[in-house]
Symmetry: C2
Subunit: 211 residues, 2 copies
DNA sequence: GCCGAAAACGCAACCGAGTAACAAAAGATT
DNA sequence: AATCTTTTGTTACTCGGTTGCGTTTTCGGC
């Protein structure tokens, strides 16, 4: 019953990791569009078809590093402490991530993370792929919300869509702050305030402002 | 000072139209991925580079027909009657479009429109391109909302993002209804109810349900 | 330790989207 | 009619992604 991965599996993991690492390194150094998949394959000493056996598209090659965040929002809702509301849990979690300078919040000035975010937000095809990822996130979140017995399926889907969208815009806003040269320390209080503003809006609706 | 379009301009318009029409016809008949841009160019008796001088990507070629809806939400807000709230104007407008069976609502069972929507929602690259269109829509709407003096820039952007997202989900929901074989007449009342539900949610927030 | 089945890989050729360079044609201008 | 400008066609190329096929590598049972 020795259930260790086995040699084959370990090699695959290593190849996969090498591809992702090398790709990101090259992308950050020369720019996403200035690096061909053939370049990456050559650098890892692997054939082009092999590369595509690991990653379905060039974009996935670049986004692998953030793919494990899949379903985070759903997990936060499902795993919230008793007596906590879904929205409350999400809000608290976002503030936590902000405090931890989690790259997903857009608020992180590690050089590599910043370069990565810059690449993300300035490369249309990556942004498009990212949208597909968040679409999956949205479905998962909708599922989790429906579990709470809150309301019908449509309501859950609408709520999930709004929440995921707002997260994206908050991250984008934070990235913009840093892109204009500010430091994390400087922008952090504002980021918290923005998040509160966003969650107040999500919770209480747009009526006060726009009706 | 005769300012009529001139022969050259007229020819260009006609070529552009022919490209879009022929492309959509072929796409609907054989499927987006089963038609190459070379096929379209050949059918219009135009060279491939010429085609790309009119449409930057294959996707734009397919989406040209719906491109004129750009900025509709923003126009509704800017052009609302005095005393009407932005949210109220958008809600009323959506109900109107629903009643008119406007394709943008997803609720239209004309054979061609349905085939077009099916193509849209089942072709990832088209969906991705559509996302970019709505991103522009969102910016325009955010601008219009800011004009109303409602609130700060971030609030306007968040509100715009939520509104556009909700529109998309409503259209998707309506498309789903028809895709499962129902008729417009049958689904229309539900679609109105869904829209009201969505706008209630937008206006009053998610608090009642999820907090 | 050996051997057969699977899995993974490399190679080479291919397809389709999109672009560049330059020459040819057609509309506009005087 | 001669000229200038805009648009077009041709050819050839790059790059992302796929396919077919033969070869190597690992795994499992013996």
């Amino acid at each position: 019953m020795g259930d260790e991965p086995g040699l084959r599996e370990r090699k695959k993991q290593r190849t996969r990791q090498a591809l992702s690492d090398t790709a990101i390194e090259l992308f950050l150094k020369r720019g996403f569009d200035q690096v061909s998949v053939a370049d990456v394959a050559a650098a890892v000493e692997v054939s082009k078809p092999t590369l595509f056996r690991y990653f379905p598209t060039k974009e996935d090659l670049a986004l692998d590093r953030i793919a494990d965040h899949q379903g985070e929002a759903a997990r936060v809702v499902s795993g919230r402490t008793a007596g906590q509301s879904p929205l409350g849990a999400l809000r608290a979690h976002f503030h936590e991530r902000l405090e931890a300078h989690d790259p997903v919040t857009g608020l992180n000035d590690n050089a590599i993370v910043r370069a990565f975010n810059d690449m993300l937000y300035t490369t249309p095809s990556l942004l498009a792929r990212l949208v597909r990822y968040s679409h999956r996130d949205e479905e998962l979140l909708a599922g989790a919300l429906e579990e709470t017995g809150g309301s019908g399926g449509l309501t859950a889907r609408l709520a999930a869509a709004q929440i995921i969208t707002v997260h994206q815009r908050l991250a984008e806003e934070n990235w913009r702050k840093l892109a204009s040269g500010r430091t994390v320390a400087d922008a952090l209080p504002e980021a918290h305030a923005d998040a509160d503003r966003a969650y107040d809006l999500l919770g209480a609706g747009l009526m006060e402002q726009y009706a």
